[in-house]
């Protein structure tokens, strides 16, 4: 299952977020090169205190945009991090390399372990003027290699070392976000969720950017589908400073509610298989077309349908792909407590309305997460 986290960079309306039901916060800091240790500690302390005033919220971790020289000071800020995570964003590290990152982590491994902290390395872009390009840490395969090399060489292991996948950065580099998280595999410990149009780093809420109307600029369905298929059981941190900066403070609570609802929808997709696991019930599909075939591909062997219904009367009383096709009214011949109706058609609203009129409950198979 996914757990939603909201990133706080000092600008969001914390009271509004709390009222909206946000329980878990991630704190964000940017430390320019010239920042001194004392400034780092003060900044982190102030922001943490601001969150602690909200009794219903807990801090799960931190993300810092830093230079390598800042890491010791950051680690020293807390004696015991109580298992919190620290995401290292090295966007501004100009002469970065995987070898240098490995060396940095190994050098600080003892402190990390001693202070009970989880360290996540994050994919980043290289920025040249207004353009984005690939850098040392842009590809998951390189970050996986870093983690494996570090784990072989010091006290850090899969227990306290991992990768944070930043969707926005990957989108700016036109990467296949679903494929990238699969490459990260078990090293994936956190996902930073945000949207952009692939050109400007706007750091907005998911589903905001489209090309034309309704064609998503970011492959959200592909990303979530891949996370589900790899059984990613972790946090999705909504890192949306752009949304909190452009929207008035009074709307931050409403934004947070939208994000919590989004996580709930993704979790219901995560649990889709549970809808199919209902002993004593017949699985009845609605829609005998392409989506039915995709259902069969994914679930047909484990959860075979009894029959499929379709609004196309020309195919009633025939067999499609080995499944008998009947008219929609045939659902009513099955006792209510024995039906498990699954819509396999993109016209969810219309078919949903049709089923509701018939008094039939249903769930939807969403193939866009997987195909």
């Amino acid at each position: 299952m996914f757990t939603s986290v909201l990133q706080y960079d000092g600008h969001a309306n914390l009271a509004g977020l709390e009222q909206a039901g946000v329980k878990i916060i991630e704190l964000y800091h940017e430390f320019p090169e010239e920042f001194l240790s004392a400034q780092i500690c003060l900044t982190m302390e102030e922001r943490a205190l601001a969150v602690m005033q909200n009794k219903n919220m807990a801090v799960a971790g931190w993300t810092v945009q830093l230079m390598p020289s800042h890491l010791p000071a950051i680690l020293e800020w807390k004696e015991d991090w109580n298992g919190a995570y620290l995401v290292l964003d090295f966007t501004n590290w100009k002469d970065a390399s995987c070898e240098k990152l490995e060396k940095l982590l190994i050098q600080n491994a003892e402190e990390i372990v001693k202070r009970n902290l989880h360290i996540f390395v994050e994919n980043s872009c290289r920025k040249v003027g207004e353009k984005f390009g690939f850098g040392a840490f842009s590809e998951m395969k390189n970050l996986v290699t870093v983690c494996e090399n570090v784990a072989r060489s010091c006290a850090l292991s899969r227990e306290n070392l991992g990768i944070c996948f930043h969707v926005g950065h990957a989108n700016l580099l036109a990467q296949n976000v679903g494929a990238e998280v699969t490459v990260a595999g078990d090293w994936l410990k956190l996902v930073h969720v945000q949207d952009n149009n692939g050109f400007r780093d706007e750091e907005q809420i998911p589903f905001t950017f489209t090309t034309g109307r309704g064609m998503l600029s970011t492959d959200w369905y592909g990303l979530i589908g891949h996370l589900i298929m790899m059984n990613y059981d972790g946090m999705l941190s909504f890192a949306i400073p752009g949304a909190f900066a452009t929207a008035p403070q009074k709307l931050h609570g409403a934004l947070a509610k939208l994000l919590l609802a989004m996580t709930a929808i993704w979790n219901s997709e995560y649990e889709f298989e549970k809808q199919l696991q209902q002993p004593g019930k017949q699985i009845i599909l609605f829609g005998a077309g392409r989506m039915m075939r995709r259902y069969q591909q994914m679930w047909g062997e484990k959860y075979p349908p009894s029959f499929v219904v379709d609004n196309d009367s020309k195919i009633w009383d025939t067999v499609v792909d080995g499944i008998p096709v009947r008219c929609p009214q045939a659902i009513l011949a099955v006792p209510k407590n024995e039906r498990n109706v699954i819509v396999c058609n993109m016209h969810y609203k219309e078919i949903g309305g049709q089923l509701e009129k018939m008094g039939v409950k249903y769930h939807c198979f969403r193939d866009e997460y997987y195909f």
Partner: protein, 312 residues
């Protein structure tokens, strides 16, 4: 008193009217923008494919939309505007144009009266890049003048919307994109009519695309501003997304503060109507209620900002 409304596109006609209007009402909206253009799509009209929906008689259309009327009444919703099918004129398709202008639009006006819609948004003809602005003006005035008796009969008004066109794949200003042009159309036709039957529909997204300033546009229009189409985009495509969805830093994106300031100063007292069906379509469909709630929350915020700036 300012009210908050939303368009029905994206919600109807996919659903039963009762379910759809309940959803809209549950989200807190009190007004609706009825998208009759869903029944004769612009994409089909541009391709010369005209369906037979409006071949129905006025009585048949009333019967078809009776569930809408009943559902709106049931859930305490009132229409603030209706969007007629468009385009009303396609270059080179005289037969379709005659059908649209002499059959579809008059039936829409009658339907508006039946559904108690005060304003119908009708896209004026787009002709300036094929001919010139003066010819566009003449043809539009000639046509819309013919609608005046119908408007009086049905007691509805027509709003012109600030439109854009595409030249070389690039978005450029279209008819009524310039507020002075919009005023010229409205005032001329109202003078001919002898009463206020024409007004303006301000589309915020279209303003962005042709780089117009919202404050200046609204102040110039004044009381001619009757209805709104509220949405935001990235200034490149007509994305119809939620306000405050674009930009990385405060002040980037559409200037909603100036928009509210201008509406307050002209004492705007109508409906903040959101034209955000692509927003609904962008999010997973299971989130429709949550997205509608968000849109309404934005509406409440804008309303409070306008009220704070109203001299009344």
């Amino acid at each position: 008193m300012i009210e908050i409304g939303v368009q029905t596109k994206g919600i109807l006609p996919e659903r039963e009217a009762d379910h759809a209007f309940k959803m809209i009402s549950d989200a807190g909206f009190s007004r609706v923008d009825l998208n009759i253009d869903c029944f004769l799509k612009n994409t089909d009209l541009y391709r010369g494919k005209c369906n037979s929906f409006f071949d129905a008689s006025r009585e048949e259309l009333q019967s078809y939309f009776m569930p809408y009327k009943k559902a709106m009444e049931k859930y305490g919703l009132r229409p603030s505007q209706m969007h007629a099918p468009y385009p009303v004129r396609v270059e080179g398709n005289d037969k379709q144009n005659e059908y649209m202008q002499k059959c579809v639009i008059p039936k829409c006006l009658a339907l508006a009266s039946f559904l108690e819609v005060p304003w119908v948004v009708i896209h004026p003809f787009k002709m300036q890049y094929v001919y010139d602005k003066e010819r566009e003006w003449q043809e539009n005035i000639a046509y819309f003048e013919t609608l005046i008796p119908l408007l009086k009969e049905h007691k509805v008004g027509v709003c012109f919307e600030n439109l854009y066109e595409s030249v070389g794949g690039r978005i450029v200003e279209g008819v009524c994109a310039n507020p002075d042009d919009a005023i010229r159309y409205i005032d001329t036709l109202n003078d001919i009519a002898g009463e206020e039957l024409f007004g303006h529909c301000l589309d915020t997204g279209h303003l962005q695309l042709v780089k117009r300033d919202a404050y200046a546009f609204i102040k110039t229009l004044g009381r001619r501003l009757k209805v709104l189409h509220i949405h935001e985009n990235d200034t490149v495509g007509d994305l119809h997304q939620l306000p405050y969805s674009f930009g990385r830093h405060k002040g980037e994106g559409f200037d909603w503060q100036q928009f509210c300031k201008a509406l307050g100063e002209i004492e705007f007292d109508a409906v903040l109507s959101f034209e955000t069906f692509p927003t609904l379509n962008s999010f997973p469909f299971e989130m429709e209620k949550d997205v509608l709630n968000m849109i309404h929350a934005v509406g409440e915020y804008l309303k409070s900002e306008i009220d704070d700036r109203c001299p009344r």
